[in-house]
């Protein structure tokens, strides 16, 4: 469009007649005038009304009549207005009584396909709520269908609750919007909420149970084999719905009164799914080339006008066979996720989370895993971790999990009940504070593992910042409680530091590997990615594991004889993990050397250097690992501290030594302040004050 911003203040065509104070519109046709006068505009010239509008707004407008942007076009096409529930019932298109079992099976299977489509990230309005029966479940006469429809409401509620609690979804995973659909009030009906139509969990389960029994009775009363199959197939569907609902209730509300054994329920679901898949052909099937997932009961366009004015996303409902397969696998995934409840050790649990994520599980099973491990969820544990200053320390069950994790990893004397190091109230306080500070980053780490694979990398980078701050704290705890141990080797005992370092390294490795998985690196970059993994991260991980073994072993021999024997049995608890690290380290080394050789022989295409710089790329790839000012400040701090310690050993200090000591001491404090976040948001440059020493300035913050 033109860049000539010509403001047209309106001529006769635009001027309106004197206004009359009416509420309603008074439309005056200006079509012919409008089309006549716009001919005065030059090509590309824009006529604005007022000054509130620019080209930017022009670009963000939705273009009408463009099928890609205009969702409203779809509802208008052909124009047979979709019938709503009462209309469809009135004209006989929707049976609410005397349904054949095959019709019921068709409706249920199609609804399951809609639920799967919803779980794959489509909107509820365009999937499950295209089922007209769900618009007025209480008006359905057929008891089986009524119970099923009410149960679907409860099931959707429960699924949404589970996913919302776990908080591991992004917009591409799941749309939590329900467009006003609620049991007892539906936008299509224009009805307001009627509390008397709400059904409790217990009532819903009881209704389904009753239907199960009825259907089984019916199945028995028919001798005909085929018909027998149909009633049984229907009973299996109702039974599945009840059991998956109960199982999800147990997972989502750990205090739920449904009082059922989740494992048994999920096993039952798997059994039922076998029957459902086998009998999928018994129900009415969707008409070929139709958008409707079932011939009766579904109106794909019914909610089109509820959609937001974004680009229309055309929702194709998952084909039935695939949807049933999805449910079957979902149950298997939930059964697998349940195993987390027997992971007592945090390390095993973390491995389980990472492994679960690698299988690219669906949003519901990922959410269930979160809730099963920590109640209410890692997300809420993380957000409630910090107590307001002055308040008593919040108590988290997660603190105990982390305490056990440290104990079994490095067995620090400070956590042994009768150790001298754990006795002083000050040391105990320090350790407890550290553990509480660990809650948030570690809970977030679990939460990150629940996110979809593509989102994890960025979240890991953010997490590294939090771990960096924690590392400092771990070291100061070690300095205070580790040093004074009887038989300890002083500086060598960095129990808490080792434990934390181990986790930081794992996060770093996961971050770099995620880049490979997401295909973010170009081949000519591979060599330094692998070099870094080989040369540093895996190497450090191996030594961290080695140190952990040494530390936990150090504490053990002081036990009684029986303890010593036990120590022998669990001689090298991390042996396997250490070996795996060595394996991976060697793999990376192999790639690295091969890649460098490829590069030397010109086998790998390099980008033209004019547009590329390896330094820039390297910095970009490793930024979250390094570009952390806190780490750098702390590093600097240590140097000044070291300088100061050495300076203080000089017995007869001259002026030079005193000056340097003053500079080192001051800079140590300044960097310490900076590391703690002092003036973090200030962009004022620091001053370098050479007044104390000619070469070595004091850093000053202004």
């Amino acid at each position: 469009m033109a860049d000539s911003d010509y403001f047209y203040d309106g001529d006769g065509a635009m001027e309106s007649l004197p206004a009359s104070p009416e509420v309603t519109y008074n439309w005056v046709d200006i079509t012919s005038d409008f089309f006549k006068y716009i001919q005065d505009l030059k090509l590309g010239e824009l006529l604005h009304d007022g000054h509130l509008f620019g080209l930017f707004e022009a670009m963000s407008a939705i273009e009408m009549m463009d099928p890609k942007m205009d969702a409203g076009m779809l509802c208008n096409r052909g124009n047979p207005k979709p019938l709503n529930f009462p209309q469809a019932v009135a004209c006989g298109k929707l049976k609410i009584d005397d349904l054949e079992p095959s019709e019921l099976i068709g409706i249920i299977d199609a609804t399951m396909a809609c639920i799967v489509s919803w779980l794959e990230g489509h909107s509820l309005a365009q999937t499950v709520f295209t089922n007209l029966y769900l618009h007025q479940p209480h008006s359905i006469v057929n008891k089986t269908l009524k119970a099923y429809c009410i149960a679907v409401y409860k099931l959707l509620d429960c699924i949404r609750d589970c996913i919302n609690k776990a908080l591991v979804f992004e917009e591409e995973d799941f749309l939590p919007m329900s467009y006003g659909y609620r049991l007892g009030s539906n936008p299509q009906m224009g009805s307001t909420y009627d509390a008397s139509l709400e059904v409790s969990e217990q009532k819903c389960i009881a209704m389904l149970r009753e239907q199960e029994e009825d259907l089984n009775k019916k199945a028995r009363s028919f001798d005909d084999d085929d018909a027998n199959n149909l009633w049984l197939a229907l009973a299996a569907r109702i039974r599945f719905t009840r059991m998956i609902y109960q199982a999800l209730l147990v997972i989502t509300k750990r205090d739920s009164q449904s009082g059922a054994d989740c494992v048994a329920l999920l096993n039952g679901c798997s059994e039922m799914m076998k029957i459902i898949i086998k009998t999928a052909g018994k129900g009415t099937q969707p008409v070929e080339n139709s958008d409707s997932p079932n011939p009766m009961g579904f109106e794909p366009m019914i909610n089109q006008r509820l959609l937001p004015p974004t680009f229309p996303r055309y929702t194709r409902i998952k084909p039935r066979a695939e949807a049933l397969q999805y449910f079957d696998e979902l149950v298997t995934r939930l059964r697998h996720a349940w195993k987390i409840t027997s992971c007592t050790n945090f390390h095993t649990a973390l491995d389980f989370f990472m492994d679960f994520s690698r299988q690219r599980s669906c949003i519901l099973s990922r959410s269930a895993l979160q809730l099963l491990y920590l109640s209410p969820s890692p997300a809420s544990t993380a957000s409630s971790a910090m107590a307001a200053p002055g308040q008593p320390r919040p108590h988290h069950p997660f603190v105990e999990i982390l305490r056990e994790s440290i104990k079994s990893f490095v067995n620090p004397p400070a956590l042994t009940p009768k150790s001298p190091a754990g006795c002083t109230p000050q040391a105990r306080e320090l350790v407890e504070n550290f553990l509480v500070r660990c809650v948030r980053p570690f809970a977030v780490l679990l939460q990150v593992c629940g996110h979809n694979r593509a989102r994890q990398r960025d979240k890991l980078a953010l997490l590294l910042d939090e771990f960096a701050a924690l590392q400092e704290e771990a070291e100061s705890v070690d300095a205070l409680v580790g040093g004074g141990v009887v038989g300890g080797t002083g500086a060598g005992r960095s129990c808490f530091g080792t434990w934390l370092l181990y986790h930081v390294l794992r996060v770093m490795i996961a971050y770099l590997l995620a880049g490979l998985e997401l295909e973010l690196y170009s081949v000519h970059e591979y060599h330094y990615i692998f070099w870094y993994l080989y040369e540093f991260l895996y190497g450090w991980l191996v030594s961290a594991l080695g140190r952990a073994e040494a530390l936990s072993g150090e504490a053990a021999p002081r036990d009684t004889k029986r303890g010593a024997r036990r120590h022998k049995k669990r001689a090298r608890p991390h042996a396997r993990e250490g070996l795996m690290c060595q394996v991976l380290q060697n793999m990376c080394g192999g790639y690295y050397k091969a890649l460098v050789a490829f590069k030397l022989q010109g086998k790998i295409r390099q980008p033209a250097c004019a547009f590329d710089s390896e330094a820039v790329r390297y910095k970009h790839r490793f930024a979250p690992l390094y570009e952390n000012p806190v780490i750098l400040y702390l590093g600097g701090c240590k140097h000044f501290q070291q300088a100061r310690t050495v300076l203080e050993t000089i017995t007869t200090p001259d002026q030079e030594v005193t000056d340097l000591l003053k500079v080192a001491k001051t800079n140590f404090v300044v960097l310490k302040l900076l590391a703690g976040g002092h003036k973090r948001d200030s962009t004022a440059p620091p001053e370098f004050d050479f007044s104390v020493h000619r070469h070595f300035p004091i850093i000053k913050l202004v």
Partner: protein, 78 residues
């Protein structure tokens, strides 16, 4: 100034006129979409926000005559 634009497919858009060009492509702000009603019943509009209506799809344009002149003046002077 409120515009009421009828499009070739019968839908009616009501919104604040913002901008046009010589091909009669019109941009409306705070726009609502009304479906063609055969039986005269008015249906709940769908809120669209900012839209661009291509000139070739415009059937008729009407302006709202009930606008308060003082507020209009203020709008221009600003």
């Amino acid at each position: 100034m409120n515009f009421r634009i009828e499009m070739t497919d019968g839908r009616v858009l009501i919104g604040v006129f913002l901008c046009t060009d010589r091909d009669a492509n019109v941009i409306l702000g705070a726009c609502s979409e009304y479906l063609k009603s055969n039986d005269g019943e008015t249906e709940e509009p769908r809120v669209l926000g900012l839209v661009m209506v291509p000139g070739r799809h415009i059937v008729s344009i009407k302006i709202d005559d009930t606008m308060d002149t003082t507020s209009q003046k203020y709008y221009y002077e600003e």
